[in-house]
């Protein structure tokens, strides 16, 4: 659903009606007003300033307080938020947005295109950790009229609207100019007490305990929101958090904090509902492979690992059957780009043969060579997956030592020291693969920096595709280019895709429409309502 470069002019009313019409997520009953939704956060947000961070608890909170220009629908298409309509020039360089005229900040001041201009130029471009990956395509971002806003690009960049619609990729929430202008954005007191335009107003932040939001009665989307209050409670201990959910003290656990071993039990319990909807981030669990290792730098060795590791067992035992096997470097959620054609079959005999051919025959003791497999404590399924991999590779004559680190030490070891052989890591692949996939496997991303190409993988052929695909206006051609990219990546195996992290949110059955979009864990709760 990547928008083409031909002009798309959409009348807002028509589009809104259409969007609601096609959303299967919406319930049929009439929402009623009132109620308090308590959402669990796994950590205290650092600050309620989306342009400073990619932190999940921050986005879970601020998505209720602020708006973006555009949003993603279930199929990763672009739908309006503050921008009621937009056009793209035929050359794909000029994006013109019409901003809604009735949006107001929580302090009563009107929201105009000046706010949009300020947010992008002064806050997002200068401060967001990911701005470096996409802002370089922007020539200018300017208000032209009170409710018109124009982006001009230096060269065509097809994923542009997806970037704007994905706050996690861009931090692109629209912030109030009058609150931020002339002050240091990093230390502005509003970062602890935000003033937004969204469905809920900030009430208080009880440090270490909770953040309270209340309904914005003047919200610019008529009739919304339905809930009186949204409370985000910090609950750092996974087991205790789940007990609190079972007891009904908290109403919503997002997919990163739903324990997979409990999903079966929740599914049978009428007090709860599981919402499996939209993973716009297309998160895959991977095993990173260090290309500097004397054996692993041989592609046959890497392919042998792919044939030997039983990924079905990993999704059955490590993720309790809730996950799909990942069969490519793009998630199947990104349906237009995904292909499983280049996946590996489980074939231990072939794996043994490949290792022999690669020049690593079994020694007298039946062993070939040892490897270290690292994982960071916190995601227990990665640990269980690592143990399964260890078992599979032992049969292959490879002795694997599994080692656990805390997250900071792991990141340092893998992405800065490059001192690892194999490592368990989650990587996003969506909502557009350009945003996430290119950043991991491009040669120029071999940097001593977190979450880039720490594997040391380099293939000029795939680099050339990465450098051109995002300019390709024809969806069919771009799709073909992404097939080629996946073909090369699956052949070369900079990492082995293991599983697609299942999007399973858990909510109390007392609420409806807690999740309606593809970014469930960080979307606003403006559609949620209580049923009695």
């Amino acid at each position: 659903m990547i928008p083409g470069l031909r002009t798309i002019a959409l009348a807002s009313a028509m589009f809104a009606a259409l969007a609601v019409g096609v959303l299967p997520a919406k319930s049929q009953t009439t929402p009623k007003r009132g109620g308090t939704l308590i959402v669990a956060l796994e950590n205290e947000p650092p600050a309620l300033a989306p342009y400073l961070t990619t932190d999940t608890p921050t986005f879970t909170t601020v998505s209720n307080v602020f708006n973006t220009l555009v949003l993603l629908d279930e199929h990763l298409g672009i739908i309006p938020d503050l921008a009621k309509s937009w056009t793209v020039s035929p050359d794909g360089l000029v994006y013109t947005f019409q901003i809604v005229e009735n949006a107001k900040w929580h302090d009563g001041k009107p929201l105009t295109s000046d706010d949009v201009e300020f947010s992008f130029n002064e806050l997002i471009a200068k401060n967001h950790p990911r701005a470096g990956t996409w802002w370089k395509n922007v020539a200018s971002a300017k208000a032209s009229g009170k409710y018109t806003f124009v982006f001009t690009l230096k060269s065509p960049y097809v994923p542009f609207l997806s970037v704007l619609a994905s706050p996690l990729a861009s931090g692109a929430f629209i912030m109030p100019k009058h609150v931020y202008e002339g002050k240091d954005p990093k230390t502005n007191p509003a970062n602890q007490a935000p003033i937004g335009s969204g469905p809920f107003k900030f009430v208080r932040w009880q440090r270490g305990s909770h953040i309270e939001l209340a309904r914005n009665d003047q919200y610019w989307k008529p009739g919304k929101p339905y809930l009186d209050r949204v409370i985000l409670q910090v609950m750092p201990d996974a087991a205790a958090r789940f007990l609190a959910f079972e007891r009904g003290e908290v109403d919503f656990l997002h997919w990163y904090i739903v324990p997979y071993d409990q999903v079966g039990k929740l599914r049978k319990d009428k007090r709860f509902q599981l919402v499996s909807r939209g993973d716009a981030a297309g998160t895959n669990g991977l095993m990173l492979i260090n290309h500097r290792h004397s054996a692993l730098k041989n592609v046959k060795v890497r392919q042998a690992l792919a044939h030997a590791i039983n990924r079905d067992t990993i999704s059955q035992r490590a993720l309790f059957g809730e996950a799909k096997v990942a069969r490519s470097h793009v998630s199947s959620n990104v349906a237009w780009a995904f292909t499983d054609e280049y996946d590996y079959k489980l074939d231990p005999a072939l794996a043994n043969k490949l290792l022999d051919e690669a020049g690593f025959p079994r020694g007298a003791d039946g062993k070939r060579f040892p490897l270290r497999l690292f994982w960071a404590a916190g995601r227990d399924y990665e640990g269980r997956g690592a143990e399964i991999i260890k078992d599979n590779l032992r049969d292959l004559g490879i002795d694997v030592t599994v080692q656990t680190f805390d997250r900071a030490s792991f990141t340092d070891r893998v992405f800065r020291q490059w001192d690892f052989d194999l490592a368990m890591q989650l990587f996003t692949t969506g909502p557009d693969p350009t945003i996430a996939v290119t950043a991991r496997y491009h040669t120029k991303q071999i940097l001593k920096a977190p979450f880039v190409n720490g594997m040391g993988y380099s293939n000029p052929e795939v680099d050339a595709l990465f450098d051109t695909e995002f300019k390709e206006a024809d969806p069919a051609k771009r799709k073909a280019m992404w097939r080629d990219i996946q073909k090369i990546l699956m052949h070369d195996l900079p990492a082995l895709p293991l599983f697609e992290l299942p999007a399973i949110h858990a909510a109390s059955a007392k609420f409806k429409d807690v999740v309606t979009g593809p970014q469930g864990y960080i979307e606003s709760r403006e559609n949620a309502y209580e049923v009695k």
Binding site: E44, R130, A131, K186, G208, A240, A408, L426, F451
Partner: protein
């Protein structure tokens, strides 16, 4: 009691604390920076930030300076009572710590008071009836309490008293669905306090009980107790006025010493019960390698432990007239 000499003594002890504090800060600084991991990695989260962006953050927080320079800067700030600025929260470290301190002091104070009181009473009870069924039961329970890890006790308490019996809430310090004001709020906090305080008490209570029991048994066998009984002093008076007063001195020392350990123990209790205190702040700061917050917390804790020791000494003088500070 000679108040003046006591004051001079306290002043002297506090002066001594300054070089001690300097050494503590130096050691903490070295240890914290020796740990692997980079605060910047945690700060940017899962993002594939550009090297320029990462260098910019490093400059902003002064992490590009040599370590020795960073230490000198830090000591200079400490001398002006400036604990610095959190990398993760982008807020003053002092504000963050002070914001979390009441919750921790409430939990610690409650725990320290009740576990000391019950521990001493149980110890006296057991010492008066050594090798009775009551003594064995108390000894067994205290040994169990002493050896069970806090996070495990916490989970068990939650499962029994919060999930199954539903007597107490599982998480946090307040009821968020139905908030109350005034006196209702105090009751609400107390209701939330019960499980973490009991969990947190086990270890301390066991320690105090064991110590009191042993000391009381020793003292009760001494000649002056026999003399007192021979004089016809009532048994309650013998036990509480004569024996306990003498036996309690080492117990006071341990209560004071335990203060420091308790702050460390608060990390686990506060995490399990989502109690918004300093222990949690410490836990989060370790995970994020938030150097200024870690340093600030450790410095603050050192000061609190030093104060606790001084207070212990003063209490000593109050409960034992033989102790005179010159």
């Amino acid at each position: 009691m000679p108040t003046k000499s006591l004051l001079i003594y306290v002043g002297g002890r506090l002066l001594q604390a300054v070089p001690i504090l300097f050494v503590i800060i130096l050691i903490n600084f070295a240890l914290i920076h020796a740990a692997p991991g980079d605060p910047i990695d945690i700060l940017i989260g899962g993002a594939d930030a550009t090297p320029e962006y990462i260098e910019g953050l490093r400059r902003e927080f002064g992490l590009d300076q040599p370590l020795s320079q960073q230490f000198v800067t830090y000591i200079g700030k400490i001398a002006q009572f400036d604990l610095g600025y959190s990398l993760r929260y982008r807020e003053s470290v002092l504000t963050l710590i002070l914001g979390r301190m009441p919750a921790t002091l409430l939990l610690m104070g409650t725990t320290l008071f009740f576990s000391s009181l019950i521990g001493i009473l149980l110890g006296v009870f057991a010492a008066r009836r050594p090798y009775s069924a009551g003594d064995y039961t108390a000894t067994f329970l205290s040994l169990a309490g002493y050896s069970m890890p806090v996070f495990w006790i916490g989970q068990i308490m939650l499962i029994i008293f919060a999930l199954h019996l539903a007597w107490f809430p599982t998480q946090g310090m307040y009821s968020l669905r139905a908030p109350s004001e005034g006196f209702g709020r105090i009751l609400d906090v107390a209701h939330h306090l019960v499980l973490p305080a009991i969990t947190y008490s086990f270890y301390h209570l066991a320690l105090i009980y064991r110590l009191t029991r042993i000391k009381m048994q020793e003292v009760l066998a001494l000649d002056f107790i026999t003399t007192a009984r021979a004089k016809g002093v009532a048994e309650g008076r013998v036990v509480y006025r004569h024996a306990l007063r003498s036996a309690i001195l080492p117990v006071v020392t341990v209560i004071g010493l335990n203060f420091g350990f308790m702050l460390a123990g608060s990390v686990l209790t506060e995490t399990v019960f989502a109690w918004p205190g300093m222990g949690r702040l410490l836990y989060e700061a370790v995970g994020a390698r938030d150097y200024p917050v870690l340093m600030g917390l450790f410095t603050m804790l050192s000061i609190m432990v030093i104060c606790a020791n001084v207070i212990t000494d003063v209490v000593y003088a109050l409960v034992d007239p033989r102790v005179v500070y010159r």
